[in-house]
């Protein structure tokens, strides 16, 4: 079963705008990760945020985590055409750190 659910399923924005994607999950976690997948390629790890962290930054990416609401958001600022991809959140199970379970993904399209 899917642990994480991304919202929205698809997002189309103008280049230069900010993109926000949300992820909700069901069980307690040790960490939550965000990945990017370009069409026909493998997944690329973007950020890992631990359950005791609330916010993390990496370049134009900002991830927040609210464990009370079991949700996370990924913000991409000043979007570029190269950001067009699918974005997945993934969570480990609190009692099973030996695997991560992926959400269904958000397809992000950046219009030039």
């Amino acid at each position: 079963s899917q642990q994480g659910e991304e919202d929205p399923q698809a997002l189309s924005i103008q280049e230069g705008e900010n993109a926000t994607m949300n992820c909700s999950y069901k069980t307690s976690i040790n960490n939550l990760q965000w990945y990017r997948q370009n069409s026909g390629r493998g997944l690329v790890h973007l950020i890992l945020i631990r359950s005791n962290e609330r916010e993390k930054h990496s370049g134009r990416l900002r991830v927040t985590l609210d464990t009370s609401k079991k949700s996370s958001s990924l913000l991409i600022t000043a979007s570029r055409a190269a950001d067009t991809a699918s974005y997945f959140c993934a969570t480990d199970g609190h009692s099973s750190a030996s695997k991560i379970i992926f959400g269904s993904g958000t397809r992000l399209s950046i219009r030039p």
Binding site: R41, G42, H45, S98, K99, I100, F102
Partner: protein, 113 residues
């Protein structure tokens, strides 16, 4: 150098055949995984190995048999292929179990006809 490499990239085969997909990582990671991505882009864990030891087997049919000859390699053998096995199979590795990001291979697109 490719960090996680899978071969072949594409595999087209007939129902009933047996095929293998190979995966190698040169990152020195202890843990390796196989994931299956279906046509709707859902990614599901299949197997996980830590230091050559199987730690996860997610209700995968026993036609699928992973083999880890050493911690840098995790191969996937599939017997008696079925139409429903068509998918993209991704190999991944992580430094260890726990708070580590995964490095994924570029995937093997398997088409069963």
């Amino acid at each position: 150098d490719t960090a996680v490499s899978q071969t072949p990239k594409y595999l087209v085969t007939q129902m009933g055949n047996d095929k293998s997909i190979k995966c190698e990582q040169n990152l020195g990671h202890d843990t390796m995984y196989w994931y299956k991505q279906d046509s709707k882009k859902f990614l599901k864990i299949m197997f996980s190995y830590n230091n050559k030891e199987l730690i996860i087997n997610e209700t995968v049919p026993n036609r699928f048999s992973p083999k880890s000859p050493d911690k840098a390699h995790l191969n996937l053998h599939i017997n008696s292929l079925e139409l429903g096995d068509s998918a993209v199979y991704f190999c991944a590795s992580s430094q260890d179990i726990g708070d580590y990001g995964y490095t994924f291979g570029s995937g093997t697109r398997l088409t069963v006809v």
